[in-house]
Symmetry: C2
Subunit: 149 residues, 2 copies
């Protein structure tokens, strides 16, 4: 599990600082039930409710930073804005099946996908951060409905 002290170490390596805001954000994601993901706005509201508000600018900046460090995954689901979740190795690592009509999102696991992703990145000399298989499809219920696309 990625800890606050490993975050601190990694930040210091680059001459950056550990702030209470960064620590809080990391902890929120660590305590989130597996497979739950938050948008920047969700996180903003959640923190206000918890009585430790963090400005939206800071949230956006740190979500982006933590994604680029490989700590978080940036998900493009179907709602038109990004979602974030903690980035975990197998066997917690998972992927998403999305209905393009009702936006219903289902998780599924498949460890060989992560292996393939790692192999591809390695072959090209890339340092892997995240690897997501996103399936766009139409769910059974939407297939039955006559509603337009």
């Amino acid at each position: 599990m990625y800890t606050v002290s490993s975050l601190k170490a990694e930040l210091h390596e680059r001459g950056w600082r550990l702030t209470p805001q960064r620590e809080t954000i990391l902890q929120i994601f660590q305590n989130l039930p597996t497979g739950e993901h938050l948008s920047a706005e969700d996180l903003h509201v959640l923190l206000q409710q918890d009585g430790e508000p963090i400005s939206l600018s800071t949230i956006y900046r740190n979500l982006k930073m933590m994604s680029r460090m490989g700590i978080l995954r940036e998900l493009e689901l179907a709602e038109g804005h990004k979602h974030y979740e903690i980035n975990q190795p197998a066997p917690y690592h998972h992927h998403h099946l999305i209905c393009v009509r009702c936006n219903k999102t289902t998780e599924f696991k498949n460890d060989s996908i992560l292996k393939m992703g790692a192999k591809t990145a390695q072959k090209e000399g890339y340092h892997l951060l995240d690897c997501q298989l996103t399936i766009h499809a139409i769910c059974p219920s939407c297939q039955r409905s006559i509603l337009p696309i």
Copy 2:
């Protein structure tokens, strides 16, 4: 290859119409070299240069519609806006490796991923439209640079 007449048939099934604009957009994507993808804006400019301008509203509407029909793939690369390309089966089907620092995007093929995606969709009763493995990583050149994240 998906043709104009199959587009027409599929539109008519739903009570929709084949317009010159839709025909033009489909043809542009069909004639694009494999692996090239366009943003809405790219397409808009391209059409103006070709002397058959189509309004941005219409472009956005039809790109979305054709993605939801499974004709186009909607790609989330790293530039902050969507890109589109024609959706092709194996062995043309491919995936993307993206450097989160310089946004360099590389394609790679792996037919077993499409098979897994199809199997997953089928198992859940979904009608598959598209399946993309997106790898976020840091390219060799950016690993060497000292530049911040």
